[in-house]
């Protein structure tokens, strides 16, 4: 069975992953902003029900909260580049490619038996702590409602975090 994903209150594990074939992104670079981590199984799932295509449409709502959205799967950077171009994605896709699935594992979001990530969502607060997490059945696109509710419940940037 799949392991449990990291819960609210856990420190978000730091990582550095390729965001393009020649650029990397570290979670720590986004400190001070809410971060949405969306782990998903694979690029190129059917278009109209695709989770990343949906988040692309909802991106302006995420931005209203100052949040950064990162998609993560085990696909390589070249695959992500082609996928992002095809779907006109306006947010980064990170390649959890080498060592395969290592970051997904750290978040408890790796399906060892399948060799790809769960559909696991994390909202990380401005201080780098997991504020909300959710793991959807792998065949069900979880939508964006949970993410938006979590962003709304975050303390404002100027308030001290209380939980």
């Amino acid at each position: 069975m799949a392991q449990q994903i990291l819960p609210r209150g856990a420190r978000a594990p730091e990582f550095t992953l390729h965001v393009t074939p020649d650029q990397t992104l570290s979670l720590g670079e986004l400190r001070g902003k809410p971060v949405i981590l969306a782990f998903y199984p694979a690029d190129w799932s059917p278009v109209c029900g695709d989770q990343m295509a949906l988040y692309n449409e909802v991106l302006p709502e995420f931005k209203k909260h100052g949040a950064e959205l990162l998609g993560i799967s085990v696909d390589g950077a070249w695959c992500h580049a082609a996928f992002a171009k095809d779907r006109r994605l306006h947010f980064p896709l990170l390649a959890d490619f080498e060592p395969k699935g290592e970051v997904s594992r750290q978040y408890g979001a790796y399906r060892t038996e399948d060799g790809f990530s769960e559909r696991a969502l994390f909202v990380i607060d401005r201080q780098g702590t997991i504020w909300w997490s959710y793991c959807s059945p792998v065949a069900v696109n979880p939508g964006a409602d949970g993410i938006l509710e979590a962003l709304e419940s975050l303390p404002r940037a100027t308030e001290p975090a209380t939980r």
Partner: protein, 180 residues
């Protein structure tokens, strides 16, 4: 289980009686091929249940992957403002392959609506707020692609061929203890 967060109201486009046993809400996109596939199926579902079913269509244009979806949705609202929403809805789905401004204009003319009025409404974005309001309500409700169906307020996860929708609606009717 994702639930519909925006109740059906007078601002919605509705087919079927208000006191129907079950309400089916679709969030759709006129350019989405899966919605085009679902279009005749929904008609069959409506025929199957007759007055026991109320059907509501709301907009969920995936604008980045479907460049004509927003204008099509606004065109249906333009028609809706003149009580012709469903005729336009049908025309757009039936001619989905040809979707684009010329088709929108032709469809307006076919329904006897002013094409100049349509162009003006599209240029001004007169109906964009309505479409966006549907979209955001859908996001809030857990719409996760198009089409997304809600049966009595519960998101229908899984296939939406005729047999799937009919049996899901029948299950729901049994659960609420409907007997006719």
């Amino acid at each position: 289980m994702a639930r519909l967060k925006v109740a059906v109201s007078a601002r919605d486009h509705v087919q079927g009686p208000d006191d129907a046993d079950v309400t089916l809400v679709e969030y759709g996109d006129f350019e989405c091929p899966h919605c085009g596939h679902a279009y005749p199926i929904v008609k069959q579902v409506e025929d199957h249940f007759g007055d026991r079913l109320r059907f509501v269509y709301r907009h969920f244009p995936l604008r980045e992957i479907h460049p004509h979806a927003e204008a099509a949705a606004e065109t249906s609202e333009y028609a809706g403002a003149q009580d012709r929403f469903w005729e336009m809805h049908d025309l757009l789905f039936e001619n989905q392959q040809a979707l684009g401004l010329p088709l929108l204009v032709e469809s307006a003319e076919a329904l006897g609506l002013s094409s100049a009025g349509l162009r003006k409404a599209l240029d001004n974005g007169d109906y964009a707020p309505k479409v966006q309001s549907d979209f955001l309500g859908g996001v809030r409700s857990g719409v996760n692609g198009t089409p997304t169906f809600f049966i009595e307020g519960e998101r229908h996860d899984g296939p939406h061929e005729l047999a799937d929708l009919v049996s899901a609606i029948e299950r729901r009717m049994k659960r609420v203890g409907v007997r006719r």
